[in-house]
């Protein structure tokens, strides 16, 4: 391991400044007494207070959270079951399914959004009535989340010792019992991390939701309309709050991860 040269350090600082200055600027101006985005006139917390009273934002946040939770649960269950099924398939079938599942991941989001919108439009003309909204959002979110579950859980399944499954059967488990008692605990870390990934992608999704939400607003969609219409620093306040929340979560996860090895050595 080499220490970076002075030039290297300067370079790193420059790049990281480039990445963080806009965020810092947004935070700075969230406390601005005036609506100006370039002149700081005075310190105030009023924009934050307005944010907590803003109906549109609050309901959008609520919808984002509910969709993220429900979609993530469904996607995780669906994806885990799929991984198990795919695991026992012939190589040929498996690779076809994996390739198709890979499409929402690798396709530009606008394509996924637009294609689902077309599907819903066609479905609407067949079934009639109002389907754009929560139902379509839910379906869309589940659809782009499941592949991540499959790609996370499948490797864990492959790594698992087949003999453990056989040992469970040998000791008297029916296949279903063996799954719940032995396989599931083994793949649980992957299942949980997939769930978290789904939550993250769902809360943060804009493009796909934009095409499948109809008139319903998720948080990113609400943010988009804010950027188009209002020029209020409320948006700065929202940005700063989101940054702090994300930072805290990442710090928490890191703290938990670095404590884990110590816990394991204590056990012995």
């Amino acid at each position: 391991m080499r220490k970076p040269s002075a030039l290297g350090r300067v370079y790193m600082v420059l790049i990281f400044s480039f990445m963080y200055v806009p965020i810092a600027v947004m935070a700075f101006f969230s406390f601005n007494a005036s609506k100006s985005r370039s002149v700081f006139t005075g310190f105030t917390l009023s924009w934050y207070k307005n944010l907590f009273r803003d109906e549109m934002i609050l309901s959008a946040l609520g919808i984002s959270l509910i969709i993220a939770l429900v979609a993530s649960v469904i996607a995780t269950v669906l994806g885990t079951m799929a991984s198990i099924g795919i695991h026992s398939m012939h190589k040929a079938t498996r690779s076809v399914i994996m390739n198709i599942s890979y499409m929402p991941v690798i396709n530009p989001e606008i394509i996924t959004g637009v294609s689902m919108m077309l599907l819903f439009v066609v479905a609407k003309t067949w079934m009639g009535g109002k389907i754009f909204g929560i139902p379509t959002l839910m379906i869309a979110h589940i659809t782009f989340c499941v592949p991540y579950v499959i790609f996370n859980v499948s490797p864990k399944l492959r790594q698992m010792d087949v003999r453990m499954w056989e040992a469970a059967l040998d000791l008297g488990c029916t296949p279903t019992q063996a799954f719940f008692k032995v396989v599931l605990p083994e793949i649980m870390p992957a299942v949980l991390s997939s769930f978290l990934i789904c939550l993250t992608y769902s809360i943060d999704d804009f493009i796909i939701s934009y095409f499948t939400s109809g008139t319903v607003q998720t948080l990113p969609i609400a943010i988009y309309s804010m950027t188009r219409k209002k020029v209020s620093p409320e948006i700065n306040a929202l940005s700063t709050i989101m940054f702090v929340v994300i930072l805290s979560i990442i710090l928490l996860i890191n703290a938990r991860d670095s404590r884990k090895p110590k816990a394991e050595s204590l056990r012995n």
Partner: protein, 272 residues
């Protein structure tokens, strides 16, 4: 026993066909039909008038990708050579902006690049400017680079971490100077990371409509903008929009297979 477990995948398979395969087939269907459902080539042929837009999108995305590569390469290398504990912190710092909502990140640049924005005011302190920065192609490229730089840093870093110091030292031992070290050792070994990074920057860049809308104004339309207009915007032509989407998909597939040619190693599906 095997049969039973294969059934587990059934619900997903139904879902997959209904919501991944069918929608894409819809796109194909709409691309090749007109408003009344008859087969037609006019959607595709009608795209020729938008050729400048396609070219612009590819060009800007390519420029952004190259810039990201050039910026990220040295950074990723330096990161990979840091002490392990420092690496974790730095990685966190790289990933943090990724978790921020990308609309907000783009909006931040919008405010900074405005005529009365922070940057112009800063230049104003020295009596320079004001520069016309927003609503230009440059602003769009800047937006792309800013948003997708971490997507280039991470794959490069992941690969470089695996390149052991001893390889570079061996090259030095055999007489390689900086130029050879980079071109003969580092570049070939980091190729898988480069191709992954290129894909992860180019694909979203070429298909964005937010960045071009917020930073490019109305005058710098990209493919994404056109498509959005057909579906939710004023133009309202699903067939034309589908044709555009189809072409976009083909362009993306072409570029991906090109980069895969560069990297002859077989990779496992997924970058996770």
């Amino acid at each position: 026993m095997k049969l039973k477990s294969r059934i587990c995948a059934a619900p997903y398979l139904v879902w997959m066909v209904a919501f991944i395969v069918a929608p894409l087939l819809m796109v194909v269907y709409f691309a090749f039909t007109d408003g009344s459902g008859h087969f037609t080539w006019t959607n595709l042929s009608g795209l020729s008038q938008y050729a400048p837009v396609f070219v612009r999108s590819i060009l800007l995305a390519a420029i952004a990708t190259v810039i990201c590569l050039v910026l990220a390469y040295p950074l990723s290398f330096m990161l990979s050579r840091l002490r392990a504990s420092k690496q974790r912190i730095m990685l966190m710092l790289v990933m943090l902006p990724m978790w921020m909502n990308f609309l907000l990140r783009t909006y931040a640049w919008m405010t900074m690049l405005e005529k009365n924005g922070l940057i112009n005011r800063f230049f104003g302190l020295f009596g320079i400017g004001p520069f016309n920065m927003i609503n230009t192609q440059g602003a769009v490229v800047l937006g792309m680079v800013y948003n997708y730089l971490p997507y280039m840093i991470l794959p490069l870093y992941t690969i470089m971490v695996k390149i052991d110091d001893s390889l570079i030292e061996a090259a030095e031992d055999l007489g390689a100077g900086m130029f050879y070290k980079v071109t003969k050792v580092l570049l070939p070994l980091s190729l898988p990371g480069i191709t992954t990074g290129i894909t992860m920057v180019f694909v979203p860049s070429i298909s964005t409509f937010i960045i071009s809308r917020m930073l490019g104004g109305g005058g710098n339309l990209l493919i994404g903008d056109l498509i959005e207009l057909q579906f939710l915007g004023n133009s309202y032509n699903y067939n034309l929009g589908s044709a555009m989407s189809l072409v976009l998909m083909v362009v993306v597939l072409l570029c991906m297979s090109l980069t895969n040619q560069l990297d002859s190693e077989t990779k496992e599906g997924g970058v996770f």
